[in-house]
Every structure is written in structure tokens, then in C-alpha cells.
């Protein structure tokens, strides 16, 4: 008996076997809760199915319908790209700026890191209630502060001109802490000796950032860019809780649009087709980003 147990432990000493055994629960989890639904959803994208009646094979009809017979799809696609650009670009730059500041505050860095990380762990639904009040045009804090500077009433979530900007602001605020932590990890991996050598050579702060920090942070920037773009293209919760895709569909994103198709209209085939079109868009954009950034990563 003891020999048997000993042999089993020996088996675990082999790193490959240990890794495989350790990964089994995660693989099973992924297969059951992600892999199978993804495959089934791809299968559904070739069928017409409303949950209750049996599915009918329609070939590529769902894809053709989305592309040729759904004007909202293109509006949603445009909105999704606008959101992605705003969220990733401004969110990334802001996070980089705050990460640089926090990195300089050696002692109080954990305090600020925690403060910035708080929104990340907050519930989006709860946060949305707060932001809806902040954005309230007549009684909201933001307009009341802007009023002190003579800036007129902004109809944040109520106007199609500003609704997407408002949603981007909330999204950046919500995700900033996470991006800051990633940047901080990257910044802490840059040796001080490089900055010291640059200082001896007479480099100012801007030159240090431009010629040392940014180039050495490229792997981090690529990671943030790719994960940010993937996440932003799938934006849903912010729109669901803040604007319901309005006003006048100005914040309707692809995922929100397909959610309506699936769970309001019960058109599962069409929604699945749309989700796979988004999937291919994400794949293509990710490959382009990897191609563009691959050679420049140090």
C-alpha cells in the first residue's frame, strides 16, 4: 500500500505530468462552460431556432441577413469601434500617466494602487447607479461643478452626442486600476541603472520616459492594447446598465444588439451568427495588432 502511494507521488514529481494533472480541472471547466457552448453557438449560427421549436437549417442565411438586412448592425459596429478607440486609447494613456506618478511614490504607492483598484472590484450595476446621478444634467455633481466654470448644461447620458463619451468615461474609470497595476508591474521591471545612466548623460524626465520607459514597456503596452481591444469590442454591461443602447441607438454595441436578438426576440441563430462575426473581427484585429507590434517588442 505504502509502495503504491510512493509510486503515485513519484509520478507527480515529473513536471509534465504534474502540470497536466493540475490543468485537468481548468480544462474540464473551460470545455464544459466555454468550449461546448462556443461550438454549439457556431452550429446554431446556421440554424433558425427560437428555443421552443425545433431548429431549422438555413445555411449561411443568418450571416447574409445580418450583413444585408440589418441596418442597426452597422450602427452597432460603428459604435463598438468608437467605444473601443476611446476606451483603449484614453484609458491606456491615463493609466500610463497615473502608473508613472504612483511609481514615483515609493512609500504611499500601495495606498494609491488600492484606491485606483477599488472601482475594478466594484459591481458595475451598483457603479452605474452612482454614475447616473453624477451625470444627471440638472441635479448631477458633474454639471454642478462645470457650472462654476460657466460651462453650460451637458446632457451626458440623454443626448446622442455625449452618451457614448459618458459611457467611455465610466468604463475608463472602472478599468483604470487594472491597467495601472499592469503598467506598474512593467515599470518595476525596468532597472534603475538605466535611468541613472540617462541622468548622468543629462536626459530630462520626458527624454527618460520617451527613450527608456516606453520602449522597455512595449510588451506591457502590447498586452494592454490587445486585451483592451478584445474587452472593449465585447462591451455590454456598461450600455445595459447606463443607457440601454440609447439615446437613439447611439450607444448600441454589437454585443448589446445580439443580446436583444437572442433574449428579446429569441432569434438564437441570428444572434449566434452575429457573435461569430464579432469573433472573426476580434481575431483579425488581434492578428493585425500582433503583426504591427511584434517586431518592436524588446
Amino acid at each position: 500500500m505504502a509502495e503504491k502511494i510512493k509510486n503515485r507521488f513519484k509520478m507527480l514529481k515529473s513536471p509534465t505530468k504534474f502540470v497536466i494533472i493540475g490543468l485537468i480541472p481548468a480544462i474540464l471547466w473551460y470545455l464544459i462552460f466555454s468550449g461546448i457552448p462556443i461550438i454549439y453557438s457556431f452550429y446554431l449560427s446556421f440554424y433558425k431556432w427560437d428555443f421552443l421549436n425545433s431548429a431549422r437549417f438555413v445555411g449561411l442565411q443568418n450571416y447574409v441577413d445580418v450583413l444585408t438586412n440589418d441596418p442597426l448592425f452597422y450602427q452597432a459596429l460603428g459604435n463598438t469601434f468608437n467605444f473601443t478607440i476611446g476606451n483603449v486609447l484614453f484609458g491606456g494613456v491615463l493609466a500610463f500617466f497615473f502608473a508613472l506618478l504612483i511609481n514615483r511614490l515609493r512609500k504611499s504607492a500601495p495606498v494609491f494602487r488600492t484606491i485606483f483598484f477599488l472601482p475594478v472590484v466594484s459591481s458595475m450595476a451598483a457603479v452605474a447607479v452612482l454614475w447616473r446621478w453624477l451625470f444627471q444634467p440638472k441635479f448631477g455633481l458633474i454639471n454642478n461643478i462645470l457650472d462654476l466654470f460657466g460651462i453650460g448644461n451637458i446632457m451626458w447620458l440623454q443626448s446622442p452626442d455625449t452618451a457614448m463619451i459618458s459611457v467611455i468615461i465610466v468604463s475608463i474609470w472602472k478599468g483604470l486600476g487594472f491597467t495601472i497595476v499592469i503598467f506598474l508591474a512593467g515599470l518595476q521591471g525596468i532597472p534603475d541603472s538605466l535611468y541613472e545612466a540617462a541622468a548622468i548623460d543629462g536626459a530630462n524626465s520626458w527624454q527618460k520616459i520617451r527613450h527608456i520607459t516606453v520602449p522597455l514597456l512595449r510588451p506591457t503596452i502590447v498586452f494592454i492594447l490587445i486585451t483592451g481591444v478584445i474587452g472593449s469590442l465585447q462591451a455590454f454591461t456598461q450600455m445595459y446598465v447606463l443607457t440601454k443602447g440609447g439615446p437613439i441607438n447611439s450607444t448600441l454595441t454589437i454585443v448589446y444588439h445580439l443580446y436583444i436578438r437572442a433574449f428579446e426576440f429569441f432569434r438564437m441563430g441570428s444572434a449566434s451568427a452575429m457573435s461569430f462575426m464579432l469573433f472573426f473581427i476580434i481575431i483579425i484585429l488581434t492578428l493585425i495588432q500582433l503583426k504591427l507590434t511584434n517586431k518592436k517588442v524588446y
Binding site: F51, K138, E264
Partner: protein, 430 residues
């Protein structure tokens, strides 16, 4: 020794399961999305279980969105509750999955005679699938403190929209910069809903005769929207970006708001000290007849689902027979949900008569129209929401209705309706 313990444990579990199934001959499941109503139902379930110790009813409450997704997924997997609360906005999608009410237990003749909108709202091929509990419609809620402050009494309750507009103007308070401080009539969040009522008052309909598209961009629709635009932009009784009507009423930032009667629950739960009253919707001519003056909708009751096992269905009907023939349950449900009881015989009940909101609703409800199915997608994600958004963003009325109609018709294309009955409205005689 260890193996023996495991065997004993397994045996014990099996034994307990067997015993529990002997104790409860029937174990029913019941779902609802409305927590206060479920609390009431649970009170009655306890009574029923005492009277019928062989029946156990497990309840589950979940949010509105989750409820319908889970029910849909459950139906696809044929794993459903035996009894499920039903909402008539889901009729087209779910009707085929519901069992008809057994007419030996529930007399259709009685219901036809005594329940408002029963024939148009409940009967499908001579069967009905969800129980008529009560009807809801719109009212004007007013803040009694603000009214008294302006020297107004119940005698000043307006009968016409022009009177209401004058009153709202009088009650609106402005900041020094001309912005609205207290709205005379807050419509923000409810403008689309009020438009449907005004559209009916002007002789319009929601759907075309075939029921496959909306009929909004019409003379009646335009007149209704013009009146609303005048209220907002000329009379300035509210303004774009003002508080949502529920918040405006609760925080005493509105002298009057338009709302469906359900707001009573919201106000009483969140603003228990608020001193408010209600009056029926005014009309353009100052009289309710011949109507319709507004849209109504019915809060329907429980349904029994087709995939449930036969024994459970039988027990479910027995329970519903007991529950719905108890007028106390129906009245208490109406009090919780602020409904006019569907059964007209209950309108004279002292509890209904003494409830200021339901009593007002009861007087107005015969002049309201049940349009048939009104999917949430027309109200919340498109259609009426678009009317409000475009109006507050200053779009011209014809453009607004054209775009809203396009959107609403696209909703109906994606989700066709089987049930539209608004053109059957015949006024209080029915």
C-alpha cells in the same frame, strides 16, 4: 470499518429521500418574479399545505430578466416549474407552452360576464391560459403639499388637458437662470407612455389593422406629440434632462407626474412620508366617454406549464382552484400591485373602495383600452423610448414618429404578434 460507514451513509441518504417522497405525495414548484406578490402567495401556500399535507409547494423568486431567460431555457430542456407566474407581454412566445385552465374548475361563462377584457384579453380558441387578476393603467399623481402651498384643493383637479397645462405652468418653479426647479408636470421617463394614451384619445391606434406593424405616424399620433412638445418647450412644465418622473415625485421636485398605478408601491416603499394624491387622466374634451382615454394592461396570474408531469399538473390545478376562488387572495394581490380587480364584483369590496389609488383606477379603467400584447422591446429598448429621446433632443414631430415607427416595426418584424385587440374597444358597456 470505514467502508461500512460509507455504505451506511449512502443507505441513510437513500432512505431519507424515499421517506420524503412518501411524506409529500406531490412536490410542486412555483416561480414568480415579483417578491411582494410571492410573499403573499407564500402566506396562502402555507395555509394550503396545512389543509393538504400531501402537497408541498417550493417557491422560487428571481428578477424579471432572469425569470424569462430561465423559463425559456427550462422549456427548451423540458425542465420547468409546474406553476409559473405569467405576463401577457409574452403571450406570442409562450402561449403554446401553457396548459389551458380546466373549465370544470374555472367557469368561462362567469369570467366572460364578470371580468373586464376577458374575451379580448384572455380567451384564445375558447380557452384561457393565465388567470385574470387585475388591470393597471395611467393616472396623474400630485404632491398635496405643493398643491396646498399654491392654494389648490381637490376642486381644482383638471378635467381637460388644457386645464392641466395651465395648472402645471402655475405650479412650475424656476431657478433664476430660467431652469426648472420644481416641474409642474414631470414627464421625463414617461413621455412615450403618455403619448400612447394621448394617441388613443385623439383616435389613433398602436397597431395597424393586420397587427404586423405599428400605426404611429398618423394624424392622431402627430397631434398627440405636438401637445407633448408644447408642454415641454412652450409651457416649460418640465425640461430635457430633468429628473426621471419617479425620482421627481419622490423628492418633491414635481407638483404632478404622469405614471401607471404601480408607482404607488414605489412611492410607499421609498418615500413613505410623501403626501400625495391621484386623479384620472384628463381628456381633450373634458369627458371620459366614449373613450378610450388610455391604454391598460392586465396583470395576469399563474399558468401551468405543459411539460410538467401529469400528477403535478393535476395538483397544480387543485391548488390554483383553491387560490383563485379565494377573493381575499385576489384583493390582496390587487392592493400590493395597485390594480383594479379584473373581476368587477370585487370593485365594491371595502378594501378596494378605501384605497385612494385603486378606487380612482377602478372608475377610469372601463374607459381604457387593452391593445393586446405590448412587448417590452416596444417600450423599453425601442419605439416609445425613441419617441421620448427624440422629443427631448428637439427632433421635429414628424421625423420623431417616422423614426420611432421604423424602429417599432422592425421590432414587430423580429417578434411578430399573434394577439392585438385594441380595435375591439367598445367602452364601458363591455
Amino acid at each position: 470499518m470505514k467502508n461500512k460507514s460509507i455504505v451506511f451513509f449512502v443507505f441513510l441518504v437513500v432512505f431519507l429521500f424515499s421517506v420524503s417522497s412518501l411524506v409529500f405525495a406531490v412536490d410542486l414548484t412555483l416561480w414568480d418574479w415579483h417578491a411582494p406578490r410571492m410573499k403573499l402567495t407564500e402566506k396562502y401556500i402555507l395555509q394550503y399545505e396545512k389543509l393538504n399535507p400531501d402537497v408541498k409547494i417550493d417557491t422560487q423568486t428571481m428578477g424579471w430578466d432572469d425569470y424569462w431567460k430561465k423559463l425559456m431555457a427550462g422549456l427548451a430542456a423540458r425542465r420547468v416549474p409546474d406553476i409559473a407566474q405569467f405576463h401577457n407581454s409574452k403571450t406570442t412566445v409562450f402561449l403554446n407552452q401553457l396548459e389551458p385552465y380546466p373549465q370544470d374548475k374555472f367557469s368561462v361563462d362567469y369570467l366572460k360576464k364578470n371580468v373586464i377584457n376577458f374575451e379580448s384579453g384572455y380567451l384564445f380558441d375558447d380557452n384561457f391560459y393565465f388567470y385574470p387578476v387585475g388591470a393597471m393603467s395611467s393616472l396623474i399623481f400630485y404632491n398635496q403639499n405643493i398643491w396646498q402651498g399654491a392654494g389648490l384643493t381637490e376642486q381644482d383637479i383638471p378635467q381637460t388637458w388644457e386645464q392641466l397645462a395651465r395648472l402645471a405652468k402655475k405650479l412650475t418653479q424656476y431657478h433664476d437662470n430660467g431652469e426648472v426647479k420644481v416641474a409642474g408636470l414631470a414627464l421625463n421617463g414617461a413621455l412615450g407612455l403618455l403619448w400612447t394614451d394621448l394617441n388613443y384619445q385623439k383616435g389613433g391606434y398602436l397597431y395597424n389593422e393586420e397587427g404586423n406593424a405599428t400605426a404611429w405616424n398618423t394624424e392622431a399620433g402627430l397631434a398627440a406629440l405636438n401637445f407633448l412638445r408644447k408642454l415641454v418647450f412652450e409651457d416649460k412644465v418640465t425640461e430635457p434632462g430633468f429628473l426621471n418622473y419617479t425620482e421627481a415625485m419622490g423628492t418633491e421636485s414635481a407638483a404632478m407626474v404622469y405614471s401607471w398605478s404601480w408607482m404607488r408601491g414605489f412611492l410607499d416603499d421609498n418615500y413613505p412620508d410623501l403626501n400625495y394624491g391621484v386623479f384620472p387622466l384628463p381628456t381633450f374634451e373634458g369627458k371620459m366617454a366614449p373613450g378610450p382615454v388610455a391604454r391598460n394592461n392586465h396583470e395576469t396570474g399563474f399558468s401551468v406549464l405543459k411539460p410538467a408531469p401529469a400528477a403535478n399538473k393535476k395538483a397544480a390545478w387543485e391548488f390554483l382552484d383553491w387560490l383563485y376562488h379565494d377573493t381575499d387572495y385576489l384583493i390582496e394581490s390587487c392592493l400590493i400591485l395597485a390594480l383594479a380587480p379584473a373581476d368587477k364584483n370585487l370593485w365594491m369590496d371595502p378594501r378596494i373602495k378605501s384605497d385612494k389609488i385603486i378606487n380612482t383606477l377602478v372608475k377610469a379603467i372601463p374607459y381604457t383600452v387593452l391593445p393586446g400584447e405590448f412587448p417590452a422591446a416596444l417600450e423599453i429598448t425601442g419605439g416609445l423610448k425613441t419617441i421620448e429621446e427624440l422629443t427631448f433632443n428637439g427632433f421635429p414631430v414628424d421625423d420623431t414618429l417616422q423614426r420611432a415607427e421604423q424602429e417599432a416595426s422592425s421590432v414587430l418584424q423580429n417578434r411578430p404578434l399573434k394577439w392585438y385587440v385594441e380595435r375591439e374597444y367598445q367602452g364601458p358597456s363591455k
